[in-house]
Symmetry: C2
């Protein structure tokens, strides 16, 4: 889904004039960044599944900023309310809006938060390079902002967003792939297990079982493997567990029975997702698009099912 | 489930001797903390649903530390590998192992991480008070550690754990309840919407609809409200959607159909959870307890269903 363009100096001038036409501020730093990008000689246009262009430029600071944010006087007072430290920074944590995975943690100054709000791409302040940087400006793996949260002390920020691809510069989905307890247990520090919460640990276990199906095995296969290999068994279990979940309501069974049957439904349905190569994240994205709009998106993108389910 | 004890100086001496018997190091700082606790005049013993005592002392530093961690030479080299900043600190983010919610963010020094690993309670370094503090030492709302992750740069830490109760000192579930976009939209900054990821936003919407059921309403009720009021309709939809999910496998439909049908199953099942007052977090806890053990827990707690589903 990525189209890459190569260009020459005329195209560059044209583009800069276009940006000026949009009344955008292009600082010297941005020019330098642009030059680097120019020297790299490519610019990627990425489109999503539906063919909509999502990124036109590889760095957010040159994107068209949100006019409402730029002119809103409340933005200033809100940024004033943040308790910046003695270096003018606050901790900024990027989190996946669908899975809850903590993608990365950096620091943000006032300008970085402003840029994040107006460009809707997670933007940080690099302490080592003393510059703003928008995650994705070189990798194209932007983190598209859905909301920004401040903590009770107003010195810590969550960038809640949807990543375009792996966040870590190593190519890992998130930067947190080194478990301390794993490291202590093993002779060598492997560092290859992501910090996953319960639902995604289960997803990972199921897909591991799926990967192991090809391997020679001694003894009885696990229940998950039997389900993965037998569509009829799997579907009969899903229908059975959904029925049992309903019965906890119909027969007025206690809450722990409901939680347990719902766990059964989830587990078996997740095995079906694995068979079909569908990620839990994709399902949550469908739910989000049906039910919610972030404060910054238009209502028009709601799908038709929405009206049935709000 | 909380029993509170009041005590006198004899009990204090007895307790200190008991701790010495456990070969625990009680520093002057800990003594001071203890004195404060003593002046408060109470000590809480909290038990979980199954009647097991979970907290014996209101601060982790006096708990019996994990011997394996204390004597393991690998812990030292692991702590050496963390890139502590010029103040000897790294960012520490506490995350709910089941929901993925970011609970709070603080800073940790070497001793704080060591205490977290050995006590299994999220422990930070307070920059304002220049002391270690274990979240929960005054509120009893500890964050029970399941795993600890380092990021690729080794200067940022995730404390993945299960909170005993609300983490924020305000009583909010997490410290992140101020949406910047909400604040900009409203005249007044309300600050009462938690940073929720998709699944929990949906849960929150459903429970809001449930709360609104009592209210007078004009016009047609939403689909969610109709489901909440009609068990028969709800159960028939859950069975229907589970069936349709299975059909995407049986009829070899495409992946987007599977994701969409799974979203339907999840949504309708979550309405049933709301009717039964069961939280998604409780369901995920059941799944976690069936499928996983953190590196620090004994295998024996696995429930009987486990053998069927690994």
């Amino acid at each position: 889904n990525t189209v890459t363009f190569y260009w020459n100096i005329e195209a560059l001038v044209l583009l800069l004039n276009f940006c000026r036409g949009l009344k955008m501020t292009i600082s010297y730093a941005h020019m330098l960044q642009f030059s680097t990008s120019f020297l790299n000689g490519k610019l990627s246009f990425t489109s999503d599944n539906k063919g909509r262009r999502t990124h036109v430029l590889p760095f957010a600071s040159l994107e068209r900023p949100d006019k409402n944010i730029v002119v809103d006087p409340k933005v200033d007072s809100l940024l004033d309310s943040v308790k910046w430290d003695d270096k003018g920074l606050a901790v900024a944590i990027a989190q996946n809006v669908d899975t809850g995975a903590i993608l990365m943690q950096g620091f943000a100054n006032r300008e970085a938060v402003f840029t994040t709000l107006s460009s809707r791409k997670a933007t940080f302040f690099s302490r080592s390079r003393s510059t703003l940087w928008t995650k994705g400006e070189t990798s194209n793996n932007f983190i598209n902002i859905h909301d920004v949260f401040l903590d009770c002390d107003r010195d810590s920020i969550i960038y809640l967003g949807k990543p375009d691809g792996p966040t870590c510069h190593t190519g890992a989905e998130t930067c947190y792939y080194t478990s301390v307890f794993d490291s202590l247990k093993q002779q060598e520090i492997e560092g290859n297990r992501l910090a996953l919460t319960s639902l995604y640990s289960l997803e990972s276990t199921i897909s591991q079982r799926k990967a192991e199906l090809a391997e020679e095995e001694n003894g009885k296969p696990s229940w998950t493997k039997r389900l993965l290999l037998n569509d009829k068994l799997l579907c009969s279990k899903i229908r059975e567990e959904a029925n049992e979940l309903c019965q906890t309501l119909e027969n007025n069974e206690d809450k722990s029975r409901t939680a347990s049957e719902m766990a059964d439904v989830l587990y078996h349905a997740m095995v079906l997702l694995a068979v079909k190569d569908v990620k839990v994240e994709d399902v949550l994205q469908v739910l989000r698009q049906r039910f919610f709009q972030s404060g910054i998106e238009e209502k028009k993108s709601r799908v038709s099912k929405k009206s049935e389910q709000d």
